[in-house]
């Protein structure tokens, strides 16, 4: 039987994170991050995961104010979390577009040392001039070069990680040799990076921190299959998951990857209850919290690409069609649909058939929880997904900060452990070790 991989995603800056609930805590105080990380470690999770965004999102030219806004710098908070955990992997999303390989390789290798081999990096890229306005580099990157540069970026970072051989750090007072003369020497000559010199961080415990990738386009999938150790996918439903899994594994094989060397981890949400019926009620309650009347209009605007602020959230869908021009009213996140007219037609049909107003429709068509049920049902569905190769595990996204994972750890994890598909104790100390990827560097 395959072992299930589990990761805990700190609730992020989107409407899935319910901030209006009385139990919702701070999104920025370290205590919230420490609580979720310790809970994940108590549940013997593989790793903790942080998303990222380097510009506050805007809609219709104004800072988006309905969701959680603001977050810490990923690697800085992960390094602090290394002090309050001992085994949990610590993975952060870092944009390769707005960083340089030397500095980022250094930070990730430093985190790997400071955490005893628990560092992970979710590589994302951007060609987005909007975010670029916060950076020296601006939005200079042509879309077609995104993955080309990202591929060279990751390759360069790995060259830097390899620039200290294990034996380069000697530190022997008897012989008086601290490091060999060539320690850290590197030279990379490429289309995007032409750099050389010496790297300052000796080889880390994992040598290469775990690399995660989340691209879903053709190029994104190819890039991930060629270079990543794990994929943060959006395909959490069994049929979609199996199709994605097969697609990635065949792309991986084409790049000479061994089966099992690339872990597929869909992001997943959940709602629990003592019974399945109770869980469904709970799920519905959470969905209403996630989609406030204001959020319903805002999400509708994202598909319609128009100002719909005059519409009643409890009223019918707009009769006017979505604006499909290139210029998006939403800045700082991807568009909701590739074919807005088709999606709008589907939504209209659904609203009519079920007699749904705007808010109820949005609740229906966006973000239903991946797993809804009693702990036994959820444990079974997770295990089933893994055993049938719809996934190798899941990156769980709680809807509440910081206690949103507590119930899962208390009630679902023990059932997975009873089935023998999830560790009862950590048997390894590094993130690569937890995922069985120690030999893959």
């Amino acid at each position: 039987m395959k072992q299930v991989i589990l990761a805990a995603h700190f609730p992020g800056v989107n409407n899935h994170t319910v901030w209006s609930d009385p139990a919702s805590g701070s999104q920025i105080d370290f205590a919230s991050f420490a609580h979720l990380a310790r809970t994940a470690e108590r549940g013997r999770f593989d790793f903790f995961f942080l998303a990222d965004g380097q510009r506050l999102r805007e809609q219709r030219g104004r800072i988006h104010d309905l969701d959680v806004v603001g977050r810490p710098d990923s690697l800085t908070v992960l390094s602090a979390l290394a002090a309050v955990t001992t085994h949990l992997g610590l993975a952060g999303t870092i944009n390769a577009t707005f960083n340089e390989p030397y500095e980022l390789a250094r930070k990730l290798a430093s985190l790997d040392h400071l955490s005893g081999g628990r560092a992970g990096w979710n590589v994302v890229t951007s060609s987005d001039a909007f975010t670029g306005e916060n950076f020296r580099r601006g939005g200079y990157l042509d879309h077609s070069q995104r993955y080309e540069r990202a591929e060279e970026f990751v390759r360069t970072v790995r060259e830097l990680w390899d620039s200290w051989a294990a034996e380069d750090l000697v530190a022997d007072p008897a012989t008086g040799v601290f490091a060999t003369a060539n320690a850290g020497a590197f030279a990379h000559r490429g289309a995007h990076f032409d750099i050389g010199g010496h790297f300052t961080v000796p080889r880390g415990p994992q040598r290469h921190p775990l690399t995660i990738q989340a691209g879903d386009s053709e190029e994104g999938r190819d890039f991930a299959a060629a270079t990543a150790d794990a994929i943060f996918s959006r395909h959490s439903r069994p049929a979609d998951g199996q199709a994605f899994y097969r697609d990635i594994q065949s792309r991986g094989a084409a790049h000479g990857r061994a089966p099992g060397s690339l872990k597929i981890l869909p992001g997943a949400t959940f709602a629990l209850g003592d019974t399945d019926a109770e869980a469904q009620e709970n799920a519905d309650h959470i969905r209403r919290q996630q989609v406030s009347p204001q959020t319903a209009i805002l999400l509708l605007e994202q598909l319609w690409n128009r100002d719909l602020s005059a519409y009643d959230p409890e009223g019918p869908l707009p009769e006017i069609d979505p604006d499909v021009s290139e210029d998006s009213i939403v800045k700082g996140r991807t568009r909701m649909s590739r074919d807005p007219l088709k999606t709008a037609a589907e939504w209209r049909a659904l609203a009519e058939a079920k007699r749904l107003g705007i808010r109820d429709l949005i609740i229906e068509v966006t973000g239903r929880q991946s797993f809804i049920g009693s702990p036994a049902r959820v444990a079974e569905e997770i295990n089933e997904s893994v055993q049938t190769d719809a996934a190798d595990g899941f990156i769980l996204v709680p809807h509440l900060t910081p206690t949103g994972l507590d119930e899962f750890v208390d009630k679902v994890v023990p059932l997975l452990q009873e089935r023998g598909v999830f560790r009862a104790e950590y048997g390894t100390t590094t993130l690569r070790g937890h995922l069985g990827l120690e030999g893959d560097v």
Partner: protein
């Protein structure tokens, strides 16, 4: 306590500031790249009630040459990222300030602001920043984005003749300006969680900073809410006129390197005259402390094959003698000292267990922490956001 309180910081770097420190019998060179090593040093400094520790960093290997690696195998080479070291030890300490070094030359001000804000959050208001510029061609080659001429011996005596010196400090001043604006870009009460209107933040209390400069333009606001201290502490080491000007304009604390009390008086007056009226002035000193200090220094010099030299004055003597010197120099208009332990942990322990009790006996140093934040230790108020009250 008589007069103004004396402030004490220690500068942590590798195995200590003497290049052969790692070969001291009590040194632990095998663990220099572990969290346990840094946590131990910070805990010891906090035990001594010190104001803060600084953590050295560069984007190149240490070298005895002015520019470029020296290929030496007998000295410590390699460093971890100082901001991440600081955040790793933050949850393990409770009061001491944490001041990592970070360069402005090759980094993004937007990332620096967010990382330092986050350090302030994870430490509960104890973050600072030692601003550094990188005027080395070898470092520039690690990035491949700009040309910096080689720093040559003829520049070393008078850095102001180095062609890019002015440009690097102008850029540093711009970077500090951007970082400070980003720290202010969220007003303290921006998060409102107003269920009735469905709003998490009041966007009128979030501000674009719209900085435009020759090296970068930054739009803002920060992705990180305003840090606990409002503005983490900005510090800089300065040896000559240009960096004095930079420090007077941009920093809260400047480290100077006088070699006697007279020089301390002259430099302090010069810096204050440049407009740094509110600036705290610390003198840097490399210290070998203890009854055996002279012997230890001689032994390390022998191992290294050269007499130790430094930009800062070098003190060798007992805790009592060091206390005498600090109290004498401080009369020159200094607010405090940043001591660079020659050997870690030996000279750090001599500071915390020897010097500090000696100063306390003389009623010249705190007997307990009185504040919870780094600004608080230095008697600096928490500034309001420059944007507070302005509405777009």
């Amino acid at each position: 306590m008589s007069a103004a309180p004396l402030h004490l910081a220690v500068a942590l770097d590798g195995a200590g500031w003497h290049p052969a420190a790692w070969r001291d019998p009590a040194a632990t060179p095998k663990i220099l790249f572990t969290a346990a090593y840094w946590a131990g040093l910070a805990a010891e400094a906090e035990h001594g009630l010190l104001d803060f520790v600084t953590i050295e960093d560069t984007l190149a290997l240490q070298t005895t040459r002015l520019d470029g690696p020296d290929g030496r195998t007998d000295q410590v080479r390699g460093r971890l990222d100082a901001v991440l070291v600081a955040s790793r030890i933050a949850p393990l300490t409770g009061r001491i300030g944490l001041v990592p070094t970070a360069t402005t030359t090759h980094t993004e001000p937007f990332h620096l602001a967010g990382a330092l804000s986050t350090l302030d959050y994870v430490s509960g208001g104890r973050a600072g920043w030692r601003v550094q510029v990188s005027g080395r061609r070898a470092e520039a080659a690690h990035f491949g984005r700009r040309d910096i001429p080689e720093l040559r011996p003829e520049h070393a005596g008078d850095l102001e003749t180095f062609p890019v010196f002015q440009e690097l400090f102008d850029e540093a001043a711009d970077a500090v300006e951007v970082v400070r604006r980003l720290w202010d870009s969220w007003e303290d009460d921006a998060e409102i969680r107003d269920v009735a209107t469905g709003r998490f933040v009041d966007r009128d209390r979030l501000h674009y900073i719209d900085f435009e400069g020759p090296r970068f333009s930054v739009r803002g606001p920060s992705i990180v809410p305003r840090p606990p201290q409002g503005q983490p502490l900005v510090t800089a080491l300065a040896h000559s006129r240009l960096p004095y000007e930079f420090a007077a304009r941009s920093a809260d604390v400047v480290y100077i390197t006088p070699h006697d009390a007279e020089q301390a008086r002259a430099v302090a007056a010069e810096v204050r005259g440049l407009g740094g009226g509110e600036l705290k002035i610390f003198a840097d000193l490399v210290v070998f402390v203890g009854e055996d200090a002279r012997d230890r220094r001689a032994r390390l010099d022998e191992l290294d094959g050269a007499a130790y030299a430094s930009d800062a004055a070098i003190f060798t003597g007992t805790p009592g003698e060091l206390a005498d010197l600090l109290l004498e120099w401080r009369q020159a208009g200094l607010d405090g000292f940043r001591l660079r332990p020659a050997v870690l942990p030996a000279d750090l322990t001599a500071i915390t267990r020897g010097l500090v009790p000696e100063l306390q006996r003389r009623d010249a140093f705190r007997r307990a922490y009185g504040a919870a934040t780094l600004r608080g230790h230095l008697g600096l108020p928490r500034p309001a956001s420059r944007y507070a009250g302005s509405r777009r």
